[in-house]
Assembly symmetry: C2
Amino acid sequence: MPVDPNAPVRISAFNWVPPFARGQVRDLRVRWALEEAGIRYAVRKLDAKVERPSDYLAEQPFGQVPSYRDETITLFESGAIVIHIGEKSETLLPADPAGRARAIAWAFAALNSVEPPIMNLATIDFFRPDADWARESRPEVVALIGSRLDRLVDYLEDRDWLEGRFTAGDLLMTTVLRILDHTDLVAARPTLAAYKARGEARPAFGRALAAQLADFELSEAVAAA
Amino acid sequence: MPVDPNAPVRISAFNWVPPFARGQVRDLRVRWALEEAGIRYAVRKLDAKVERPSDYLAEQPFGQVPSYRDETITLFESGAIVIHIGEKSETLLPADPAGRARAIAWAFAALNSVEPPIMNLATIDFFRPDADWARESRPEVVALIGSRLDRLVDYLEDRDWLEGRFTAGDLLMTTVLRILDHTDLVAARPTLAAYKARGEARPAFGRALAAQLADFELSEAVAAA
């Protein structure tokens, strides 16, 4: 599903980010969901290095990426956007109410129970590696992440996906685990590494990742020209 | 809506927590949503000081509080449970799809954009106040919280509620802001303090808070007897 400047769905993304953030910016989650649902989308590109334009704060109150709009709504928060896209595609959200609610439970688990300590580690490792407090607190942060990942391993057992079939919960959990790619925390847990690899092997993920990276490469080519 | 041991809806909660955590444990969010929806509920009480029973991990993979079950489903994650209860009550989730999606966006904003730095501050202030790393990193944590709260103030302007009427998003945001009650970060922002007070003034919130605190008081009375 190529990016289409004339599509009625439009997301936001950054036009350039440093190498460590490529493949990590949260518009990847929304691109992936749109690819799973077979929905074309346009991209509003923002400059990460300057203050957000005020009209952008009207669509994303915290100034973060991504935002989303379609014919009927303007939305923000990658979790909420993925759920909204899921309403249009059973690939992401089962039609039965119980299956749907379980997928949403995993979406919140990914973003409220698993991601926060992982983002603390990313802050330490990418933004404040030389701070004394970062060096001193890192072992505690790693221990908390490890305990959350261990519970996830226990839960997964021999499941391919969190609820037996791929859902929006797996999409979000996979992107959260990817934030740990600079560590061995996932690789050291084969069940979890295999689970993450299954998500990344989906063709829709591959197309979404390629589209995000292509935007960054375009910016570099323009800057170099 | 009194707690009813025979209700088909059952949540989990702790039987006792230290004073600083009273009125903060996340079952409060679910109790509040059930009160708004007019749904009776039973409570499975867990001992916070011992390892979770294995049958509890089957219903809450991370061992956290609360879990939820009704006639059709077992759920976890306070955000997902509140949304699920919202499917049964327009007080929490508007019936129109766009209003519903916006409420869900605020639910994710509360739990993924606002709560994580606030929980980092709670960890510092309540669990690790004497750690060198905690003292050194606290100003950065406070600054990040402040910037998120300032954006929320800008967004609220003269709105009573995030989307013009009370939704599940306000319920979750109010409980997240309450985690800062030991600081002046909300009080220093009158728009936000008034917004939080509006949430806490709802009769359903009052009943939910009283029910959580009553359980803790019961445990203390039993222990003292």
